[in-house]
Subunit: 162 residues, 2 copies
């Protein structure tokens, strides 16, 4: 493969969320208690076997309503542009999204989750188990984000954790 | 979009790693000190602006050498199949990979990183900042994986952390 190759993927499911438009969706899902439903298409349901034992999942999805692309982002309150790969914004070259969610219940092909932060009808591309021993890091630096959201640099217990 | 839609993505770069084949690549990268180089194609380099300030990045990539797909996985030492979405294996319906890496240095369009665990020439689809306040979770259950790798349930300091 090279820069001219096309990677073709197919949605494995779709998100049903309380946020009817991208503008209504929260910026991030950490701590959100609203329930979203992830519907997995019938042909992929076998891949969910035993997922009930996992408390947290990484959801990869496609920002299908994002029609713009950019390599930069400038905070509304700032004049300095930053690279799009230092942000979690949707309008990136490949508009892939990533959210860690809490699995509440599963019924057949429906996963009811909390902490999902995207608009209704967003297509799902993959689900992976969230595994602290693989995914977690300490002593993290978050670059320019530190100026605006210093709390993001480390884990912050939310109300349910306290 | 629906189940018949095709999501088309383009590689934004490629990984140069010490692992010449998928078989040589380690199962997971946590704690690996070997250096891999992520080459970002020229047209996307502007998106890296200020990435030097970030210590850890989430790399999304495409397992381009994985030609098989499966909805199940059975451990070699077991007889019970588990759903592919409870694993991090490449042979999933959409062969997307996710690794958290440590950024060592950046030079122009080259990111030198540790903890990358994939084969040489793997195409990169996206880079996101790893943000503990967004991505980290506590009190995690890891389902059937707990039986085989109980240590993965929580953060484990590696030698460099101690």
């Amino acid at each position: 493969m090279d820069k001219h190759s096309i990677v073709e993927l197919k949605p494995i499911g779709v998100i049903h969320s309380p946020y009817k438009t991208p503008e209504q969706a929260p910026c991030q899902g950490r701590g959100l208690i609203q329930i979203s439903e992830i519907e997995i298409f019938t042909e992929y349901v076998a891949g969910l076997k035993d997922i009930e034992g996992f408390s947290h999942l990484i959801i990869l999805y496609y920002f299908h309503q994002c029609k713009t692309r950019s390599l930069h982002f400038t905070m509304p309150t700032d004049i300095t542009p930053h690279g799009i790969f230092t942000t979690r914004l949707p309008n990136r070259p490949n508009p892939l999204g990533l959210s860690v969610v809490t699995l509440v219940t599963r019924q057949d092909n429906i996963l009811r989750v909390k902490e999902m932060d995207v608009a209704d009808n967003t297509p799902i591309l993959d689900i992976k188990p969230y595994i602290p021993g693989i995914d977690e890091r300490r002593d993290v630096k978050i670059g320019w984000l530190q100026l605006f959201w210093p709390g993001l640099r480390s884990f912050q217990p939310d109300q349910e954790d306290i």
